[in-house]
């Protein structure tokens, strides 16, 4: 009998092979093949993604991956975007920066989402990482333009500074003037969320002039329309441009100036900004429309006729963000003009109005689903929906990966039959087999969760509000959705039973959020005691939960798996349920 001996490759060869493997999932798989592969892989991993900054400690990450060049961290739960997470909950990046400053001096890229970033953190970044190249802050807060100025001044190799929807303290520090005159490496700059910080236009123009590799430039609202032409002329290589205020007194010379400037940008594929749009100036962008793939008009308060004219000029549009001023009629034109559309987001112009202010209904969504075969991702705010429409949409778009529907009034039934929308959403999960993300709204019973548990096998993230009748609903989801990673629930009648019956499931997920539901303090304690690898956080601004009876439901509950144990940076209104070693079963 001959036994074949396995030839093992030298480490360098394996490392070279691994360098072609970029996806985190694959890298994780590689590291689990055997011990030597684990070792080789960990020394050559360059990018780490931490979906929950409290799931692991910075020290653990750096210990395992000492040579990373890029780190991405996410902090607060998603519902923090809607002010459901009280200020001060956590998500501080400073401890991570401190650890990395010492141990990973060659770090190049930091991407953060929903984290609290201080000026101190930014200054530490500027000081510690000599080859720092990219800072992407998405929905972050806690810092001012002073901290950003430190980055601009110190990071000679900075390529990307991207502030998306951040809450920045504007100290009128003239951020752009802190880039040295010798600095030319900027590729991507997004300052669209900066408030009324006065931008020195001459500084901006000089910066744009000398940074010949600039591809993305998103300005803030303070930049007036008459400055845009000059900037565009200095950066004809731009691929992604965000305007400031798109309003000015109409003058023929400034209009033609602007139109000419846009035409000189042959590479432009993405436009955004468009605050305070004056419709007469919109045709200035027509020269670039035929090549546009992405258009963000979600701040543009223009009416349907103008929107229709605009989208008719954009046959290659793949991504459109727009207000509901587009109306059903506009969406029908979109459906016939933009056959490559992959992503559509329609936001409400008057979210708190009692009566609809525009004629945007389920018909618009149906039209787009019918006309755009490549549609994959939808975020749609409307005021009425029907099961019939949802079934039609589902049949038209079996390729959906993300479907988020928000019917503005909670618990709104099918407007035609007055029935719950269970069957409609059921069709979505049944036909769209690759669905990864789903947000529900309208009148929904436990039935919809039964459908979801049965069919939504690839679903990774589910958002639920004002839905369901009983624990059975939650049970269906937790026991049926095999790929579920994130579940966020508010104002639903889900209590202890389903949660406790599916406790093991929670360790296979990133996190579970439940607020204004019916989970008792007792159940939280039990879960915390018996599940040491979960952090069970009770968030309650009414005061300590043990000052009320155990059967009392907690206000907010956030459960996440972690290998780092309880955290130590909790504010007074957050309690972590303690592990109790004597109660653990295994």
């Amino acid at each position: 009998m001959h036994k074949k001996t396995a030839f093992s490759f030298p480490d360098e060869v394996l490392e070279h092979v691994f360098s072609f493997i970029q996806s985190d999932k694959d890298r994780n798989s590689v590291s689990m093949v055997c011990k030597s592969w684990y070792e080789i892989e960990r020394w050559c991993r360059r990018k780490v993604f931490v979906g929950n900054c409290y799931a692991v400690s910075p020290r653990m990450v750096i210990k395992r991956f000492p040579e990373i060049r890029s780190i991405e961290l996410k902090g607060k739960p998603h519902f923090a975007d809607f002010n459901l997470v009280p200020d001060g909950w956590g998500g501080y990046v400073f401890p991570w920066i401190v650890e990395m400053a010492g141990a990973v001096p060659w770090l190049e890229e930091i991407k953060l989402k929903r984290m609290v970033v201080t000026d101190e953190s930014l200054e530490l970044i500027a000081k510690s990482f000599k080859n720092f190249k990219a800072l992407v802050l998405s929905s972050c807060e806690g810092f001012s333009t002073d901290g950003l100025a430190a980055i601009a001044a110190s990071c000679k190799n900075l390529k990307e500074l991207d502030l998306r929807d951040c809450d920045v303290d504007d100290l009128s520090g003239h951020l752009l003037s802190h880039f040295p005159d010798t600095y030319t490496s900027l590729v991507s700059l997004n300052i669209s969320c900066l408030g009324s910080d006065e931008v020195s236009f001459s500084t901006l123009e000089r910066l744009v002039c000398r940074c010949t590799n600039l591809r993305t430039l998103r300005l803030n609202r303070a930049v007036p329309l008459d400055k845009i032409a000059n900037i565009l002329r200095r950066a004809p290589q731009l691929v992604d441009f965000g305007t400031g205020t798109y309003a000015a007194d109409l003058r023929p010379d400034s209009y033609s100036d602007l139109a000419g400037a846009f035409s000189s940008c042959k590479e432009l594929r993405s436009l955004s900004g468009f605050w305070d749009v004056v419709p007469d100036y919109l045709p200035a962008i027509y020269p670039v429309c035929s090549k546009l793939t992405s258009l963000n008009l979600s701040y543009a308060t223009i009416q349907s006729p103008e929107l229709i004219k605009l989208v008719s000029h954009c046959p290659n549009l793949q991504r459109l963000l727009v207000l509901d001023y587009i109306e059903d009629s506009g969406l029908e034109v979109l459906a016939s003009s933009c056959k490559n559309l992959q992503e559509l987001r329609v936001f409400p112009s008057d979210p708190f109005g009692v009566e609809p202010n525009v004629s945007l209904t389920e018909q618009g969504l149906v039209a787009v689903s019918s006309g755009c075969p490549k549609l994959q991702s939808v975020l749609y705010f409307c005021r009425r929906m029907s099961n019939e429409a949802l079934v039609t949409v589902a049949k038209n778009c079996p390729n959906f990966t993300r479907f988020r529907l928000c019917i503005i009034e909670p618990r709104t039934a099918d407007y035609q039959t007055l029935e719950p929308l269970d069957v409609g959403f059921g069709a979505i999960v049944q036909y769209c087999k690759d669905l990864q993300r789903l947000s529900l709204s309208g009148l929904l019973t436990d039935r919809v969760f039964e459908y979801i548990g049965t069919y939504a096998k690839k679903l990774e993230m589910l958002s639920v509000a004002f839905a369901g009748d009983s624990d059975l609903g939650l049970h269906h989801v937790l026991s049926g959705c095999e790929s579920l990673r994130k579940l966020e629930i508010r104002d639903c009648p889900f209590g202890d039973k389903a949660l406790l019956a599916n406790a093991a499931k929670l360790e296979t997920m990133r996190s579970l959020w439940m607020s204004s539901c019916a989970v008792s303090f007792r159940a939280c304690k039990l879960l915390g005691q018996k599940m040491p690898r979960l952090n069970v956080e009770v968030i309650d601004e009414r005061g300590p939960p043990d000052s009320r009876p155990e059967s009392c439901p907690v206000d907010k509950l956030y459960i996440y798996r972690t290998v780092a144990g309880s955290r130590f940076d909790m504010p007074p209104f957050v309690w972590t349920m303690e592990d109790d070693p004597s109660l653990q079963l295994s």
Binding site: F82, N83, L84, P86, D87, G88, D165, G195, S196, R221, T245, W275, D276, T301, F347, D350, F352, G353, V354, F381, N387, C406, I408, E409, P410, T412, A413, T417, L418, E419, D422, V423, G426, A427, L443, T445, D446, R447, A465, F466, D469, S470, L472, S479, D491, P493, G495, K497, A501, N502, A504, A518, A523, K530, E541, G543, P544, P553, P571, P572
Partner: protein, 302 residues
């Protein structure tokens, strides 16, 4: 499980059935909503420690869902979902809503964080929402609203909105908070909310508990101030609520000693001040600056 899972092409069409929902789930929901039963006490809650644990065993028992307190902030419209003979509790909310509505459509009373739109986007909307309508009826607007005309352009450059949250900081407490100003329609309710937020939430540095009104009348050691659109810090309570509401950018609960030595000001004085100032001028500069007030105070006989 019912045999109703297969729904591909199933009878969805709106025809046939009556307008009033007769299916069980809707009725069950109605029953469940009206029941405010106490939560079943159990000695040992079973913990499902293996995946794919007991299926179908969990019964749909009607437990306590949301307390009445929770429902107060949720508006259930009479027209949608359930009609016909719904139980009294639901009808109560319906009528509450109708009463709020009055004749003309006003804003829906808001549930926190609903509809799910980022604060960033909401603030942006508010600043622009006036714009298209303003352009449509420019003529009438200018006549009725001298403050607005000429300030629409300025508005477009402003950051803060009022459907949305404003920051609140209290001297001595490191962590700032955010407050939904839209949830309040009077100074009293604002002060009460602030007291709940800062003085009762187990904050680490609790000073002595003060009555909400003391924040307004300046008789506590803290004074409630706000930063207005022009960046000036003003005393809260001087101007009519609506004027305050449209100009406030953020709040600060300031130590009285820091508030420019204003000292203790009685509510009476504040009110009388407002009357005398508004006699002279009605403009966007509604109340005197803090330090200006100081000087005037000193010269005014008390």
């Amino acid at each position: 499980m019912e045999g109703g899972l297969v729904l591909l092409g199933g009878g969805v069409g709106g025809g046939g059935s009556s307008r009033f929902p007769t299916n069980e789930s809707a009725v069950a929901k109605v029953e469940v909503v009206s029941e405010v039963s106490s939560y079943p006490a159990e000695t040992e809650l079973e913990l499902g420690l293996s995946l794919g644990g007991p299926t179908g065993k969990a019964k749909a028992t009607p437990g306590r869902i949301l307390t009445a307190k929770d429902f107060n902030s949720v508006v259930v419209p009479p027209r949608a979902s359930i009609n016909g003979g719904h139980p009294p509790s639901v009808a109560v909310f319906g009528t509450k809503r109708a009463a709020d509505d009055g004749g003309s459509p006003t804003a829906i009373s808001q549930v926190v964080g609903w509809p799910p739109i980022r604060a960033y986007r909401m603030n942006s909307l508010v600043n622009q929402a006036k714009a298209p309508r303003a352009e449509e009826n420019k003529g009438t607007n200018e006549a009725n609203n001298p403050k607005k005309a000429g300030s629409t352009l300025k508005q477009s450059n402003e950051k803060s909105g009022h459907i949305g949250y404003i920051k609140v900081n209290m001297d001595g407490i490191g962590i700032g908070r955010k407050l939904d100003l839209n949830a309040h329609s009077s100074y009293e309710s604002l002060a009460q909310a602030l007291e709940d937020m800062f003085l009762r939430s187990g904050g680490a540095e609790k000073e002595q508990l003060t009555m909400a009104s003391k924040l307004l009348d300046g008789s506590s050691e803290f004074v409630l101030t706000y930063e207005d659109k022009e960046g000036d810090w003003m005393l809260v309570g001087d101007v009519p609520w609506v004027m305050f509401f449209t100009s406030v950018r953020r709040l600060r609960i300031m130590k009285t000693s820091e508030a420019n030595g204003l000292g203790k000001i009685s509510l009476f004085n504040i009110r009388s001040f407002r009357f005398s100032i508004s006699d002279f001028c009605y403009s966007s500069v509604a109340a005197p600056r803090l330090h200006e007030r100081n000087e005037r105070q000193r010269s005014k006989p008390i």
